[in-house]
Symmetry: C2
Subunit: 400 residues, 2 copies
Amino acid sequence: MEKFIQIEGGLHSVRGIYTAGVSCGIKKGNKDLAIIYSEKESQSAGVFTTNIFRAAPVLITQKHLQNLKTQAIVVNSGNANACTGSMGLKNAQEMAKITAKALHLAEGNVLVASTGIIGTSLPMDKIREGISSAAGQLTHIGPDKAAEAIMTTDTFPKSMAVEMNLSGKKSYLAGIAKGAGMIKPNMATMLSFLCTDASIDAQLLKKALQEAVDQSFNTITIDGDTSTNDMVILLANGLAKNNTITEENTDFFIFQEALHFVTRQLARMIIKDGEGATKFIEIHVTGARNKKEAKHIAYTIAESPLVKTAFFGERCLWGRIIAAIGYSGVSLEPDQIDLFYGPIQIISEGVSTGREIEVAKILKQKEIKITVNLNIGQEEAKILTCDLSKEYITINMGYS
Amino acid sequence: MEKFIQIEGGLHSVRGIYTAGVSCGIKKGNKDLAIIYSEKESQSAGVFTTNIFRAAPVLITQKHLQNLKTQAIVVNSGNANACTGSMGLKNAQEMAKITAKALHLAEGNVLVASTGIIGTSLPMDKIREGISSAAGQLTHIGPDKAAEAIMTTDTFPKSMAVEMNLSGKKSYLAGIAKGAGMIKPNMATMLSFLCTDASIDAQLLKKALQEAVDQSFNTITIDGDTSTNDMVILLANGLAKNNTITEENTDFFIFQEALHFVTRQLARMIIKDGEGATKFIEIHVTGARNKKEAKHIAYTIAESPLVKTAFFGERCLWGRIIAAIGYSGVSLEPDQIDLFYGPIQIISEGVSTGREIEVAKILKQKEIKITVNLNIGQEEAKILTCDLSKEYITINMGYS
């Protein structure tokens, strides 16, 4: 994790990447429209929501990505343009078209993303004005302007950039992301846009992105809800002038590691900013028969409202974790299970060690690691989640 | 549903059933130990938790039920005697033994149940005192004394009794139940004890109970957590002197219907008393390919924290219901879906009807029916649930 130099500037740290973030009136007073622009056509790859009901912008972006010549991404927050029928598709297409026109690009080289409330048509007058305004404000100076404009219930912008050395050339990789509810495995209410100036073959770019997403955004859960709009996009414009990565050589390895690092950091930020979250929790299941069972048990624990609420209350109610393991559906022997809060073992071979007082201290921390050893195999999985607080209810009972 | 005369008295309405409920100090000040006693040995049947980690009392009760001669059930609340290892098993066995001794029964004719916190050993001194006290207070007069003593976070006792006419004889069926958290399909944190004075063959009793449970307790969810202690027990002591039901004749049909009615009513009470619940919600999925998919979609909607929180906030955020359908994993066409809040259609073939103002009125009601028509088949399923409120968090962050 420490192999890369973390740098300032967000997406602007990448050569040839310009951004703008403006307020066009979808969300009262806050920034709600962003453009990310690459001065050069980019290889591009995407990973999308597994929700069957993909929002209109997801459909348009999946189509345009096939060109592999992306030069801009236009994103609005405050309205997801999901469940909006044929009008929604027309509007998403129009967002690409207007952006393309403003930036003198081919329509197919523009990707579109939306996030926010489901089922309401986009206010296209505002969107048109926003795109026009953003296109005029694109800049490469200072911190990037997009991270803030894509936020919904997020409380802070999420941005991460690193420097890589690829075949002797300095190269940069940066990303932004947004949460903060409807966060569950398989691309759940989140958007993330990643840019690099590395030169890399499109197939390898796609492979690297899928692997990075699987070990970052696909290992987190806030509330178990999977949204209709999630996407992760990675653009590579080649301006670093490194030897183009066309095989799985050392440069590819460095690039993949950098991408792992950036996506993991963004995923952690999403969990830290989970709606109402007061605790950052890692669930580590070890000693499993296979990875699938390990991951399933970790998710079952991470998504139990009772487990999450106990973390909020800072209570050592380990029985709720044991109960969740027990209803996960995985065949297990209770009397083989070990359970740890941080380094403190509370359950040894299915029986309490009575160390509740030590656990109580761990539970006061902001970051808590739970380790479950099933002691039936060699496989493991880690899932990141947060607690369930009253604030989550407040945020979601009134969100509109 | 209206075929049976609902009567007062709870379990006492059944001939030969005596109850006692006492406070023995497990829960400060509240009743926490109950005995249900039949003056005659009873045919008995049970349905148990699907959690792999079955609590000690579940294991003992499953063993004793094989005798088919149950005469008493001893239940404590405040401590689940779950995840308590060999000491837990010994204690559960001892509960049966002490109760048997106090009532001059064979140990194997006593069933044991516990509910409450997981992972702490039973305070056996208190339990012994409680059993002795309860055994001396058994009564058949007035309302039954057990419904209150089995409560944990429940806010009201749950009891239901009906009169049946079996082959010209008046016969009675009654039950009590407790919730109120860790409530999910397949026998989740709940106990229910049912008694009847009907005479019925043991195999038919078992069959009737399983069918009744499948259409009542197994169609509800509060928080998606399945407990280690759930059980439903049905005793039939034959004191009604009806012609013993030995085949699936008219009497069996009447008995099954009565049992459906009582268990459904108890299941409804559990949901109405769900931890922190302010709304009673029925999710009805119709037009499905098969029952399994219909039930799975209904549960996915019913367990979405975002859907539940929107009900608490009385907000018409139908996009959350559509998103939940979309991530259920069932293959569907979005543009075939109809969605209703009460009688108001908000989605027609995947597109909003714009009737939010009418839906807002429905959302102010205490009982709300949601109907989803998938329009791809003929099968359907109903699930009962409640909203997710701040009070749920308050109850569960501090419960101990």
